[in-house]
């Protein structure tokens, strides 16, 4: 370990701590586990810091958080990690229900709906909408092709839309 690596860590990893924690929190579902995962990921990031050669530091760190979170989940909550059917050509489900408009007041309900999404869908939406990553960056973080990213985002949004259409129907 050199002072130089410590300096790199401070410069490359620490500015993106909020993003790292945000992803860990959305994947883990609670504060305590998210903090453990984010901390472990940062220590791993330190070990790999020599491997970071330019490029977007945030996407690089998020890839490490993602891998750490999935390893943790597989070990501690195997039932949460069910691989989804990633057929890129699959039609977006349930086109018949017209999707309504969302309002800012829906934030609480939106949070709950997001939490209810399958893990890979939730991950794609969080990286896209909350962290603003491009499809290519998400593909690198999630280690899947860009086409799969697009399909996951489309299906995730459809599920969110349906969630709210059903609520509208119940009123």
């Amino acid at each position: 370990m050199s002072a130089n690596e410590a300096e790199q860590f401070e410069r490359i990893v620490l500015p993106h701590l909020d993003a790292a924690y945000n992803l860990a929190r959305w994947l883990a579902g609670n504060d305590h586990d998210a903090e453990d995962i984010a901390q472990e990921a940062c220590v791993r990031a330190f070990r790999f810091i020599g491997g970071h050669r330019g490029g977007d530091a945030r996407a690089w760190l998020l890839a490490i958080v993602r891998n750490t979170a999935f390893s943790w989940l597989k070990k501690n909550r195997p039932h949460a990690v069910v691989s989804i059917d990633d057929d890129e050509l699959a039609q977006i489900e349930d086109q018949t229900v017209p999707a309504g408009a969302f309002h800012r007041a829906d934030a609480g309900a939106l949070r709950a709906a997001l939490e209810a999404l399958p893990l890979e869908f939730r991950e794609a939406i969080v990286l896209r909408e909350l962290e603003g990553l491009s499809y290519k960056e998400i593909a690198e973080v999630a280690e899947v092709p860009v086409g799969t990213v697009m399909s996951r985002i489309a299906r995730a949004r459809r599920q969110l839309q349906n969630h709210f259409s059903q609520k509208e129907g119940e009123k």
Binding site: N22, R25, G50, A99, F102, E129, Y135, I153, A154
Partner: protein
């Protein structure tokens, strides 16, 4: 484009990921199709709700504090020591022990065997070496360039050989971390596949163990006092051939 195709492309369009030609065609379609236009509107309102919904979690102060302390401690260890200072030595030893215990805690979660964790780490390092475009620290097909490069960086001398004649040209070498220690990573190529060969000292010999991990072939063996762990996306038969060559 029909409506079903449009519905999928709407997402790429909303994310700014659609090329100009398709965007144009899509926008033309939206002007004539009320159903797709409504869908697009709903999508935009969903995006706005997600972005304005204050849905981001912020890292707790305790985490920030812990990591800043982690960095400070690392800097402390590396400061030049002009004279012998027993107090500082104790500090360093205490930190070293804590760091070691923490590392063991992080690297060896209970229930995962050492080998299992090692193979996972090896695959992760392989993937990362390709992703981060950090495949090699020293680029050379000349074993006499690669081998001396490791001098002083690791506490052993890896056996570096070029196997171009057998179809596995040497690409270069890299320093990596595996099994809580610095290891030599030798990089070979076979057709279009890259192979990472991680090398570090071994106490006992071990017969080659072939496994598939996350779609990668992994071979783990130890011979002549060195531990070899090979990772690649090529087939196990070819990888085994290289393992045989390395172990000679």
């Amino acid at each position: 484009m029909n409506c079903a195709e449009i519905r999928l492309l709407l997402h790429a369009h909303a994310d700014g990921e659609l090329d100009a030609a398709n965007s144009l065609e899509l926008e033309r379609h939206l002007k004539t199709c009320a159903a797709c236009a409504a869908e697009n509107k709903s999508l935009q309102s969903l995006q706005a709700a997600l972005r304005d919904g204050d849905l981001n979690f912020r890292a707790p102060d305790s985490l920030k504090k812990d990591l800043r302390q982690f960095v400070r401690d690392l800097g402390e260890v590396e400061k030049p020591r002009k004279e012998f200072n027993p107090q500082r030595l104790w500090k360093i030893l205490a930190f070293g022990a804590t760091a070691f215990a923490l590392l063991m805690l992080f690297l060896r979660p209970a229930g995962i065997s050492a080998t299992d964790e090692l193979l996972n780490e090896a695959v992760a390092s392989h993937v990362r070496s390709l992703q981060a475009e950090h495949l090699t620290d020293v680029v050379s097909s000349d074993q006499h360039t690669v081998k001396p490069w490791f001098d002083g960086k690791i506490d052993f001398a890896p056996d570096v050989k070029d196997f171009a004649a057998q179809g596995f040209p040497l690409i270069g070498g890299r320093l990596d971390y595996l099994d809580s220690r610095a290891v030599a990573a030798l990089v070979y190529r076979h057709n279009k596949h890259f192979i990472n060969v991680f090398v570090w000292p071994a106490a006992d010999a071990m017969k080659p163990e072939i496994q598939m991990r996350r779609g990668y072939a992994v071979i783990n063996c130890a011979t002549n006092g060195l531990h070899y762990c090979l990772v690649s996306d090529m087939n196990t038969t070819d990888l085994n051939e290289l393992a045989g060559l390395c172990g000679q």
